[in-house]
């Protein structure tokens, strides 16, 4: 911010150095669109805004995603945090404590050499920092984990002079262990651990409360110094287990901002230990490097000759039997260059309907815009109305109707994207007209690919990460519109997933907990082998039937119907599956267990980038219940969501974690590489995978297939229509 002021100061009207000043201002503005602009607070060992081991009162910038790895005295933590809304920060942490049992007599040992634990935090920014008031945050640390790290705090931070921040707070639980002032809200009850995974409400703000605080000084642009007074006691780790020695309540640290996104720190903690941390911050709203999407420009609009040119405007071409086929092939060639495929075209003297597949563009509006410009080059002058229909799985998903004269008139208009949006028609795709001409090579069509296959398993209680690397062959045969035969075969080359099988006795059918036995399969495995039929039986209604080896653990038949008008925020779906458990070798065989499973689902675009999904039904282990998913989605395709499933399985039967929950992150590859592609990478992180609340995983679910081409998603990136 300060940099901008410099720029403003230099722009004195009439100054001879005006250009130099303006250039410098621009250069500075571009060069510093980083740390200062964004004001990312520094992060602590717990991976949340804070000093060293203590939290601070600041929130992250909206939508910021951070990761912190920290280590001291045998205790390592990796924490991912996300600013879910301007005031709410959520964090997921993976903790390891070395020498957990080393110093204990055998009778007290837990059987862990290194203890691993997972925890969630929630932070609410109560007050934003102003000129006079500090930032104030209410924090709940490890509020649904095993409770090992449980603590609550209220903390305030104020920048008292540029670069100097002072923090003071009160902590309970873990943060009330040293220098306590008393227990204003009564004793803190022992943790009712049970199977873990439930909020520890009855403990909150109980027990001793202790003050903590510290000072952070950003000495230079890159160097920051911190000192804090910690109320954390490490009674379990340092006191009981002797993992390290707690000799002092003061901690000291120095941090170095390596790049806009990376910060490194070195520390001296609790009078006995050196520590280190690595902080990484990124924001889905900012592409790395600040560059835009690199792509070739579109062909410009071709303007028709004036109406006085009677030959150009003649409608007689429509009577020529060869004209439609010629135009279809020309359009197909243009589309090929821009990474799109023509499916079918239907023509009359004054309108054209184009059905096409968008293969390249993450922004579906960009593909629509490119098709529109291609049509200005290829269609005879009399064709005024363009109906552009994107198609996936053989089904038209929406229809954008544009007047050619609007495209011509608005190409160079200010805010051209909004100008054309205001004049377009948008709605459900009409069924294909009987006179439509299919593109020559549209069907049947065979596609294959060969590539690496990576499978990862995170946060296993015994090992932070396991994985397998292999080779995967995929094939897909589109027999006719909506009829698809597809399959995928994988051969592992290297795997750390293969381990001794442990089969704890469980009350539920082992629908997911036998993952190890599937991982142990030798030789090539059939990931999927399915025959699918997609259709659009009525306006706004889509259907799918998939038969075969649907996923690696189950095969059978899956049917789905979805109601989703192209311009609606709401979608409703029903899915019913009858599946049988596959053999562990993942070849063609099946085991005895079979189940009818399915859900009624509601999908809703809340607005402001928030999406909710509710699935109610019967899960794989024959348990009944519901899954709630809440996600924050960004127009560029980023998605960060959390889900929780509650079924009629009691938590004792469910096992550790009590119920199924997790976090999903989807990253558009375009965002990373800065070139258009429809490729997305998704990961679901679950603290634990168990048998309750498990859903079938089947490819081609309808909502995910259609939504990119519906109004919410398409308009989110409508700005790319003219790219």
């Amino acid at each position: 911010m300060a940099q901008r002021d410099h720029g403003r100061g230099r722009r004195r009207p009439g100054s001879r150095n005006m250009l130099a000043g303006a250039v410098a201002a621009v250069a500075l503005a571009a060069g510093t669109a980083g740390a200062q602009d964004r004001a990312v607070p520094t992060l602590n060992f717990q991976g949340v805004p804070g000093l060293i081991d203590m939290p601070s009162g600041q929130g992250l910038p909206d939508a910021e995603l951070t990761a912190v790895a920290s280590y001291f005295g045998g205790i390592g933590r990796t924490t991912g945090s996300f600013q879910f809304s301007p005031r709410l920060t959520v964090s997921f942490r993976y903790l390891s404590v070395r020498d957990w049992d080393t110093n204990l007599p055998p009778a007290q040992q837990d059987g862990f050499d290194t203890y691993y634990d997972r925890s969630f935090d929630l932070r609410v920014l109560l007050l934003r920092e102003t000129d006079r008031l500090p930032a104030v945050t209410l924090g709940f640390q490890d509020f649904i984990g095993t409770g090992l790290l449980s603590g609550e705090y209220i903390v305030a931070t104020k920048e008292i002079m540029p670069g100097l921040r002072v923090t003071g707070g009160l902590g309970w639980g873990r943060l009330g262990a040293r220098g306590a002032l008393g227990s204003p809200f009564g004793e803190r009850p022992d943790i009712e651990f049970g199977e873990g995974g439930k909020p520890t409400f009855n403990q909150m703000f109980r027990g001793p409360v202790a003050p903590f605080g510290g000072v952070e000084w950003q000495a230079t642009d890159r160097l920051g110094l911190k000192v804090e007074y910690s109320s954390e006691g490490y009674d379990e780790e340092a006191g009981r287990r002797g993992v390290f020695e707690h000799k002092s309540r003061f901690n000291f640290g120095a941090e170095y901002q390596v790049t806009e996104n990376v910060r490194l720190g070195g520390y001296y903690l609790y009078g006995s230990e050196f520590g280190a941390s690595l902080q990484v911050a990124l924001n889905p709203r900012r592409r790395p490097g600040g560059m835009g999407i690199q792509d070739t420009g579109p062909i410009p609009v071709r303007v028709r000759p004036p109406a006085s040119d009677q030959q150009a405007w003649s409608r007689s071409w429509a009577a020529d039997p060869g004209a439609a086929a010629f135009l279809r092939d020309t359009v197909a060639q243009y589309m090929e260059i821009d990474g799109m495929r023509l499916e079918a075209l239907s023509l009359s003297a004054d309108r054209v309907q184009v059905r096409y597949r968008n293969i390249r563009y993450d922004a579906t509006a960009q593909s629509v815009g490119r098709v529109a410009r291609i049509l200005t080059h290829t269609m005879p002058a009399s064709v005024e109305l363009f109906e552009i229909i994107p198609v996936e799985e053989g089904q038209g998903l929406s229809a954008v109707t544009l007047r050619r004269s609007d495209i011509e008139a608005l190409e160079h208009a200010p805010d051209a994207a909004e100008a054309i949006r205001a004049r377009r028609g948008f709605g459900d795709a009409a069924p294909m007209s009987a006179d439509a001409l299919w593109a020559e090579d549209a069907y049947p069509r065979f596609a294959w690919s060969l590539g690496p296959a990576v499978r990862l398993s995170f946060f296993d209680p015994e090992e932070p990460i396991r994985g397998a690397l292999g080779v995967r062959v995929r094939g897909r045969y589109d027999i006719a519109p909506g009829l698809v035969l597809s399959g995928s075969i994988t051969q592992d080359i290297y795997s750390t997933l293969k381990t001794a099988e442990e089969r704890e006795p469980g009350a539920l059918p082992r629908v997911r907990s036998d993952a190890r036995r599937y991982d142990n399969a030798d030789g090539p495995v059939i990931d999927t082998l399915t025959f699918a039929w997609y259709a659009k039986p009525a306006n706004d209604i889509y259907s799918r039937v998939t038969v075969g080896y649907l996923e690696r653990m189950f095969g059978g038949i899956s049917g789905e119907v979805l109601w989703k008008p192209a311009d609606s925020r709401l979608g409703l779906g029903v899915e019913v599956n009858y599946v049988q458990q596959r053999a562990f070798d993942q070849r063609l065989g099946f085991q005895d267990y079979d189940v009818v499973t399915g859900h009624v689902s509601a999908y809703y675009d809340i607005g402001g980038g928030y999406h909710a999904q509710l699935d109610v039904g019967r899960y794989l282990a024959e348990d009944w219940g519901a899954t709630v998913t809440l996600a924050r989605e960004f127009a560029n395709g980023w998605r960060v969501g959390a889900f929780a499933t509650f079924t009629d399985v009691p938590s004792e039967v469910f096992g550790e974690g009590s119920f199924d929950k997790g976090i999903q992150v989807t990253i558009p590859v375009t965002w990373v590489i800065g070139a258009p592609t429809r490729d997305m990478r998704s990961t679901t992180l679950r603290p634990l995978t168990r048998d309750g609340g498990a859903r079938l995983s089947v490819d081609g679910r309808l909502y995910e297939t259609v939504r990119d081409y519906h109004q919410g998603e398409m308009d989110g990136q409508w700005g790319r229509f003219w790219r």
């Binding site: 901008r4 720029g7 722009r11 009207p13 005006m18 250009l19 250069a27 503005a29 790895a69 001291f72 990796t78 991912g80 280190a276 600040g290 560059m291 835009g292 999407i293 070739t296 420009g297 062909i299 410009p300 609009v301 303007v303 990474g339 293969i359 390249r360 922004a363 011509e408 008139a409 160079h412 208009a413 200010p414 805010d415 051209a416 065979f446 294959w448 690919s449 060969l450 590539g451 690496p452 990576v454 990862l456 946060f459 990460i465 995967r472 960004f634 560029n636 990373v672 590489i673 258009p676 592609t677 490729d679 990478r681 990961t683 989110g716 990136q717 700005g719 790319r720 003219w722 790219r723």
Partner: protein, 227 residues
């Protein structure tokens, strides 16, 4: 050192997650799906210096321009150290679209830059003064620039500009001398500002200009080679 290693060890899940998200794609017969591979190959090419910028095959001469028989424009992006020759590929309602050999385009109305494509952080569209307003060399103009942010949302930036006329030394554009004066268009917006410069010959034509594209690309120097 041990601590650092421990930190790195703790970070493995995240590194692995990112790695898994962006491991190489493979091969196949499907078009469009290999943008990632292309990007990685491109990066590798840049690292070993295979790509470099296209070296100017030979210096541009007036004879070459005249032999080409078509209008041409020379664009230089000082911030990127690149230059390109452009030819007009379309005209729509007074706006000329000029294209480079690798399909980047610049749109100019009467010599006033109003849009770019293929430069990354492009100027998507703009409200800008007319060529006649600029060549008048005095008075006030206003501009609105429309760009896309990292989320592909349209961002609007408004600028208030003042024009001023200045004497200037003759300039040479590919072997040809032009007696010119300079018009400066000083623009100030809420967050930043810039000064566009236009060199105008005796016949009132803009023969060369330095016009602002945006915070990332900076300025483009444009010279009309058909004069």
């Amino acid at each position: 050192m041990g601590k650092v290693l421990a930190v790195i060890r703790m970070f493995r899940p995240f590194v692995a997650f990112l790695a898994s998200a962006f491991v190489l794609s493979g091969c196949g017969n499907q078009p469009g799906g290999d943008a990632l591979t292309q990007a990685l190959t491109g990066m590798a090419g840049e690292l070993v210096g295979r790509r470099g910028e296209a070296e100017p095959a030979q210096p541009l001469t007036r004879a070459m321009i005249e032999a080409s028989g078509q209008p041409m424009m020379l664009a230089i992006a000082p911030s990127r150290g690149t230059q390109a020759l452009l030819v007009p590929v379309a005209r729509n309602r007074g706006v000329d679209v000029w294209a480079t050999g690798d399909s980047a385009t610049l749109s100019l109305r009467d010599g006033i830059f109003i849009a770019s494509r293929g430069l990354g952080n492009d100027l998507m569209s703009a409200a800008a003064p007319s060529g006649a307003q600029i060549t008048a060399g005095a008075g006030n103009t206003s501009r609105s620039y429309f760009t896309l942010d990292g989320e592909d949302r349209t961002q609007r930036a408004d600028f208030a500009c003042t024009l001023s006329r200045h004497a200037a030394a003759p300039i040479e554009i590919v072997e040809r001398q032009f007696e010119v004066h300079e018009v400066k268009e000083t623009c100030i917006g809420a967050e930043n500002g810039f000064v566009n410069r236009y060199w105008i010959d005796r016949r009132g034509r803009i023969v060369q200009s330095l016009q602002w594209v945006g915070t990332d690309v900076g300025f483009l120097q444009l010279a009309d080679l058909s004069n």
